[in-house]
Symmetry: C2
Subunit: 158 residues, 2 copies
DNA sequence: CTCCTTTCGATAGCTAAGCTATCTAAATAT
DNA sequence: ATATTTAGATAGCTTAGCTATCGAAAGGAG
């Protein structure tokens, strides 16, 4: 061990992440939502009500895209829009109880899928993975925003 | 340490993977290709020429979707289609030299982005991450297909 | 050998989700 | 008071997913 080149480690980590998320995402079909809507919903659940602009920024997406994504969530009764009292140009989006429930279920399916695989590991390896995940989260996670979802995409070259 | 619940580890790992890939994917715009095309191209590079059907299966996508994705790659001169000699119903897709070059560059950008962050880590943590990535790859990677790209999506609930 | 079924890929036509350009209304700055 | 900036919506484009359907080729049953 301990002889891998850093570039090789980056490669491994990249590949492992892709495979893990691919498996996890297989559960998402259950929710009946597309990935953009599911992802936006998760931001609303974890960060609370947001203006359209902040929500779009959180998702790394332009404002017209978010307008339509939220329209979809609204029609499905998973989110609501209301005017911002402070700034009457702005619109605040918030999740509904149904939205919260749906997201909770979708999220649980993903975590369960991953967890059931991890359960195959001996305790020592499980701890190894946990510690490494903390390190990676520290490096790549957004400070102050502990969830930071992928906006949608994750094609990968290689 | 060593006191995390398995469910919590799954959660951490999920989150870390999302953040890592989100950062890596920011480089993809450089390629000028959408994620579906980039991903299909990577399959062709890593697995060699494939029939439309096999390529679609590898990407977890239906055949009409792959027909159009490959049309795009063909127009960009990054891939070619030719009839299969063995089975004249089938079409074989293969990458062109330009396609190979473009994918190599896109991939290098991703790995470099990840690697430059990993370089901040002390040697010990770097090795920790490398070992964990191997474990995760073993659990979630597809046997015999060491690359297994995400087809496109990666919304994440939570 | 002839027919029936299956399989491969393409086409048509839908939806979701991304973009830029442009518009209105509101807030802000001169 | 006017001009600029900002927030969001709308129009209209592209990319990418889907199902349904079709023709051509392959393969099996008689």
């Amino acid at each position: 061990m301990t002889r891998r080149k850093p570039e090789r480690i980056a490669d491994l980590l990249h590949s492992a992440s892709i495979h893990l998320l691919r498996r996890a995402a297989e559960e998402d079909a259950e929710s009946g939502l597309g990935s953009a809507r599911l992802s936006a919903l998760s931001v609303l659940v974890f960060r609370g009500p947001l203006t359209m602009g902040r929500l779009a920024a959180a998702e790394g997406v332009r404002s017209p895209t978010m307008t339509r994504t939220v329209q979809g969530l609204e029609e499905a009764r998973l989110a609501r829009r209301r005017p911002d009292v402070r700034d009457r140009r702005a619109t605040v989006v918030e999740v509904t109880p149904e939205g919260e429930r749906l997201l909770g279920e979708a999220r649980a399916r993903r975590i369960e899928r991953i967890g059931s695989r991890l359960a195959e590991l001996p305790r020592e390896e499980l701890e190894l993975v946990g510690s490494a995940a903390e390190v990676v989260e520290r490096l790549f996670g957004t400070p102050g925003r502990p969830w930071r979802p992928l906006p949608r995409d994750t094609a990968q070259p290689g």
